[in-house]
Chain length 530, copies 2
């Protein structure tokens, strides 16, 4: 609707949508000529898992650049930021050698060192999750493989693992939640990093030879997340995660005695040739250089137990397919449309944070030139927020990172003034199940830091499928768990939303540049025990 | 109630129950002094999986004999029957070597041979499930590793994996089903055995080097069942089962090309030192030698992917614990109580069939001296049934083989005349959730052949838990998935039912000795396409 304004043209009340013919062309390209499952298959089966700054991620970055460039996108580029060490698994073999021989299901914990061949030692079950737990184990760990998780009992999953959203779900999500400011809040990831360092130092000082933790999912799935990736800060002792069934068997045998013997051969490799991590960016340039840009993003990095399919080849493939669709149609939007594949999301949304810090707004404290982890530390609680020159240019950001389920709409994330415009943009896709706009906020992925500086960043609502129950971070996160119908629909909706927001006369309402919030409950005393 | 008959004693209408004091002593022993989880832990964590006639099963048999004898049971013995080859897994390593290196989750298929070190070859996806599929692959398999399963897509489990029974479930189960005789029915296990032999011959003739099948459960679980265990009839080519995610990745990569390379190192060992398999039997002798006996049983053998915990250490531990409880109480029942741990159940209920054939009734055709598989062939359809001298002595048989869920009652299995007596025996345990008697028949375990000759054999109703969804035959079948509360309850109910039936004045009604049934639908024409 580039001619909007003529009195006899019915302009939608809420703002300008993409031309209807464009919408139908997107639908034709996205359903009849879809490439999204081919893209996702190359990304998962072909490239495999994509740990931030790993050699496999280097290959994946080049592949993504080649694809974007091959489709003719403009300004295809990497944007680096200081991250930490490269690391990859070459092989792993963990087995119980006594009281009976048994191969166990295991994965090295990310960024822990090699065992340097097989090491065999008796185990000791020494559950430690706080520093005050160390005292009990002092003098008891020398020469041992230490099982550090408190072994529980088998789970009893009484909910269906695979689920789609229904009516009541949307009602629950569409409830405004007041923003809450907790100045003492510190991030769990940082606690994890810091405790892992202390535990490592304790285990090393005690003469332990390796440590083992239990998978947090039953059913022989493993994950292997680790957060101690910074140069000079990786752990000194090898660590592996065991399947819950295997871990608890060891723990029971240790209880009934004598303690089982374990053999661990964790063969991993560090690569410090480049300690930067890279976001991948590609554009469809807009016709109006003053109109700013809209952006779609998904994190491209993954953990390594599976192929990083639902987390997050799904979102990455949809972002790439939306780029392909729009480029194939030859659209010439008013605003630039930017496509970003983030990295470092799994280590703390580091790629999108680096983008915000570089292009949108700064906060005081450690910023450029420092490693991602330092940049991350307490970031959303630091004031003032100082907008960069490009702050106002980003008119809308759409993020996809909730697995393979089809898009059901958008989380307005408290930006209730944006609801009418978001609804208008989604309207053509309502019959595909994507028409809902709900007030609830979501966290834990790459729109969060944009929101934290006042930029309208949104996450899509998605059918949960088996993302939370089974595939998220796990060894079962493979292409099989991607759903073609869902990802085709998501690509169409993503392309449609981008084009609508890129051409819209109206732009999304923004919040004021955030300043230090008032304490949420000024009359409450702080419990000294917390 | 050994003094029943005095006019002032209220005798239950349906028959004689165990003395109330005995019931309370069982409850005390079974809940306050339970050993069932210790027994189950030794059986699973300690002994590990117990494949019929494997070296591990030999050790397990001795352990069970020692336990029964240690508790003071009488006539503790093995009873052997001709079975087939011993076999065990020493190690397995399956990895994709191209297009990228990747360790896969795999298990050797039972009774297939070793690869004799690692063999590496390109794969070909050649789905074959019937002989007529062979023609398409003729000349195309030489030097290949052949993937024989049709790869599907990921599952979408929309039911809760862990479940307990509720009101409606019991209503559905309590519906009489008319017996149905299909003279053409042949057993699926036998088709499987025969097709595996034909496929093996075809693959060998074509020069294939190994075959691979897909796990039937998603989520990285494997099973490894195989049925070609007879002396002189094991397969010639090594076969492995891959996790569904791993199998389908290979299949997709083969489609996108070039075909992946696979390396398989399946290190297994045959042991033909004893080709018999053994049931384990132990008695608490009755006071009246003419009163016959009652019997509890569970199969002790398992597959080898897990530790055979829910299938069927659960039932075996409950049978053993019931023996321990009753022996500890020093009961002196009227009838002998017999406890049996069956073997060869997983290969076709072979242990219980051998018991029936030896002690209860014969059918024409291959019987003694032949291997179990031949005995099995078409057995329930052969007439006449000829009772042995001991036929009438077995008054009741109770089987447990539906996982770790607590007992909810008994399947009357069409023996509706037995309902009142079963209900009376269960009455003390109704408040423990075990009071239901339902009409429905069940199949697939060790009471089936007793029923097929007219002996009253019953299976308990159990809460399903995650038996069907996750643990049955799988690599997740470990002790973690056993539920202590449930197995304690089951042990108490099992002991109570045995004592009640051993002391009862009334015995369970029987059917006539089965004779050739009439065709179920005499006016129906046979579809030539079926």
């Amino acid at each position: 609707m580039a001619m909007a304004g003529a009195a006899f043209v019915a302009v939608p009340a809420a703002g300008q949508k993409a031309d209807d013919a464009d919408t139908n062309a997107i639908i034709d390209q996205g359903f009849n000529h879809s490439q999204v499952m081919r893209i996702a298959q190359e990304m998962t089966d072909g490239l495999g898992p994509r740990l931030t700054n790993s050699p496999a991620m280097r290959r994946a970055e080049q592949w993504a650049i080649d694809r974007f460039a091959g489709w003719g996108l403009a300004n295809v580029r990497r944007e680096g930021f200081e991250f930490g060490r490269g690391w990859e698994i070459l092989s792993v073999d963990v087995r119980m050698t006594a009281p009976r021989p048994l191969a166990l299901t295991a994965i090295p914990i990310a960024w822990t060192p090699s065992t340097g061949g097989a090491i065999t030692a008796p185990i000791v079950v020494a559950p430690m999750s706080k520093e005050e737990h160390f005292a009990e184990w002092k003098g008891k760990l020398a020469g041992k493989i230490v099982l550090v998780t408190l072994p529980g009992t088998g789970d009893e999953p009484e909910k269906a693992p695979f689920r789609r959203l229904g009516g009541e779900d949307f009602e629950k999500l569409d409830a405004y939640r007041q923003p809450k400011y907790d100045p003492d809040a510190i991030n769990k990831r940082l606690e994890r990093v810091s405790f892992a360092e202390k535990l490592d130092a304790f285990l090393k000082a005690e003469g332990a030879v390796a440590w083992v933790r239990q998978s947090y999912r039953d059913g022989k799935l493993v994950h292997g997340e680790g957060y101690n990736y910074r140069v000079g800060h990786t752990l000194s002792l090898p660590g592996v995660e065991l399947a819950a069934e295997d871990y608890r068997r060891l723990a029971r045998l240790a209880k009934s005695g004598p303690a089982p013997q374990l053999s661990i051969d964790s063969n991993v490799r560090f690569d410090d040739s480049d300690t930067k991590a890279y976001n991948i960016i590609a554009d469809i340039p807009g016709s109006d250089p003053k109109a700013g840009y809209v952006m779609a993003g998904a994190h491209f990095d993954s953990w390594v137990a599976g192929d990083g399919a639902t987390d997050n080849a799904a979102g990455s493939a949809v972002v790439m397919e939306a780029a392909r669709i729009l480029k194939t149609l030859g659209v010439r939007p008013k605003r630039t449309i930017r496509f970003v594949l983030w990295t470092g999301e799994e280590q703390g949304l580091l790629g999108s944070l680096a983008y915000v810090d570089k292009h949108l707004a700064t906060r005081p404290g450690p910023t450029e030139g420092e490693d991602g982890n330092a940049l991350y530390y307490g970031w959303p609680n630091r004031y003032p927020v100082t907008p960069r020159p490009g702050y106002g240019d980003l008119k809308a950001y759409f993020n996809m990172d909730n697995g393979s389920g089809k898009l059901r709409g958008v989380y307005a994330e408290g930006n209730v003034a944006a609801v009418p415009l978001l609804q208008a943009w989604l309207a053509p896709f309502a019959s595909m199940g994507a028409g809902k706009v709900v007030a609830a906020p979501t966290g834990g992925t790459d729109h969060v830091y944009m929101q934290s500086v006042g930029v309208p960043g949104f996450q899509f609502i998605q059918d949960p499928l088996d993302y939370g129950s089974r595939t998220h971070h796990s060894s079962a996160d493979t292409f099989d768990h991607l759903k073609a119908d869902d990802l085709r629909q998501a690509s169409v909706v993503m392309a449609g939303m981008l084009l609508a927001s890129a051409n819209s006369d109206k732009t999304l309402p923004r919040f004021p540049v955030p300043s230090q919030p008032a304490p949420y409950d000024p009359f409450q005393y702080k419990d000294p025990d917390q």
